[in-house]
Symmetry: C2
Subunit: 295 residues, 2 copies
């Protein structure tokens, strides 16, 4: 595995590799866990060359967010990358990626004003901007994102399609702890008590799914009662609990196609998100097991 | 010459061409004149494949601007393209380029709030957005723009560098009529009287340059007096007459490096722009003839 820290070296390499080989790309902010490893494993299987980037992107953090305290462990990340068969690990400095204030940024017009976008203004602009830069540097044929960040997947889907990047997007199933908690770099910031409570996020999502499958379409009633339950059982504060179409992220009207149930809960030092994406039609007629499993 | 109207056909073609050949790209809004032909000739010399796009981009027109009346002559454009050795002419419909409201757009953060950007809010966002789309569809090695739209060149320079497009930008000298008027698709919208007056734009720019070369650094005095002169001699209304550093488009402080003198004048049915870009140091020490010539 080769470590690259400059844009110029990376792009020179990828432009020459691209002539002959397929390139798979996993962009991350590091502190790699099992969820990232699932992305790397899938990318490793499907591409000649596997490139991983580790870059904590300041542009996607708001002024009061956890940029400074975002967990980092570069040595461990290098080891994980090596073990997962990464060919090139791109770890640029902030100065390398943003030598001065950006001249141009990407503005996300759709799918950004709900869920996390509602309380994190500018977050998805920052995500789309750094990905546009990275996609040009890495020249990937395939990119891999985790379904845990489902809104991010929806935004990247819009970015790739609307800007006509010649890239295929792969959304990889969320990896969970035994109690259902989605793996996340931010889980280390939970207190032991909060960690015990955190399994309830996935339980809540599953309960909402059951209601929808039973034919209950009263979204307000479902989310209100589950939000109350969450805030009663845990010490967390619910940022949102929403049921939307996916990937459009709009209010369901016709009750067909794919839905997302998504939740965000604020604990003392960490804000956790999770979701279930499932095909309503397949659930109703009972053949959706593989689509719907989140395990 | 082959005419292509769909994104899918174009990108499939360019991705396969790119393996072996260099691609030169001239993006235009059509109604091609000698200025465009100069771009095509330079691109033809320097690339294996020459691609021209003709697309009047609604995203870069403001609500009160001349989108509807922007001059179009598709048959003449096809002839010009053929004569200049274009290999592929991309002429998409508006629906092909924007099947729905864009999910993502490019926002230009720098170099956009002066000159034309001041009176055309969102204009350069529209330019940068359509170029990002076209660059991915065309996969060019080299792109060609006219220096007449100097602010556009500065913005595209920022777009390519900041987003790390693997593309080289070529800025091609402005082509002028005998009286100095810069060739432009909008010149046909001048009345005969306005056309007679319009040569004064270039004369004005040249006079400003003379003042700067003489060592006069009082920008306010130079532009105020020349603006008055322009509005006295012509029936046009001066939108701006500015002297800035280039390509940063900031107020000159150190009086070295490259400067732009730029003007925009509103006539009855057309708003004309023009500029001179020159290296102050080379002018002062008297070896700048080739850099400074605008002919």
């Amino acid at each position: 595995m080769k470590i690259i820290t400059t844009k110029a070296e990376l792009q020179e390499l990828t432009l020459s590799l691209k002539q002959q080989k397929t390139i798979g790309f996993v962009p991350t902010m590091g502190y790699l866990h099992e969820g990232h490893r699932a992305l790397l494993k899938e990318a490793r299987k499907e591409n000649d060359i596997l490139i991983l980037s580790v870059f904590v992107n300041p542009l996607q953090f708001g002024p009061n967010e956890d940029l400074e305290s975002y967990p980092r462990d570069i040595e461990q990340d290098k080891l994980t990358a090596k073990n997962e068969g990464v060919d090139y690990l791109f770890m640029p400095s902030t100065e390398e990626m943003y030598p001065s204030t950006p001249s141009v940024t990407v503005h996300v017009q759709k799918r950004a004003d709900v869920l996390c976008g509602r309380t994190r203004p500018g977050h998805f602009d920052g995500v789309a901007t750094v990905l546009t830069k990275l996609f040009h540097l890495v020249q990937p044929d395939n990119v891999y994102f985790g379904k845990k960040d489902a809104q991010q997947v929806a935004v990247v889907d819009g970015l790739i399609k609307d800007f006509h990047f010649p890239i295929t997007l792969h959304a990889v199933q969320t990896v969970r702890e035994e109690d259902g908690l989605a793996k996340s770099s931010r889980n280390v910031k939970l207190s032991p008590e909060e960690r015990q409570e955190a399994g309830i996020l996935y339980q809540t999502l599953s309960m909402a799914r059951e209601e929808l499958i039973k034919g209950n379409h009263d979204i307000r009633a479902i989310t209100d009662s589950l939000r109350k339950r969450l805030e009663t059982i845990t010490s967390g504060k619910v940022d949102y609990l929403e049921i939307l179409t996916y990937p459009e992220l709009q209010e369901p009207i016709h009750w067909e196609g794919t839905l997302i149930i998504a939740v965000a809960v604020r604990f003392t030092n960490a804000r956790l998100i999770d979701n279930i994406i499932f095909d309503l039609h397949e659930m109703v007629i009972g053949k959706g097991a593989s689509t719907c499993s989140e395990q």
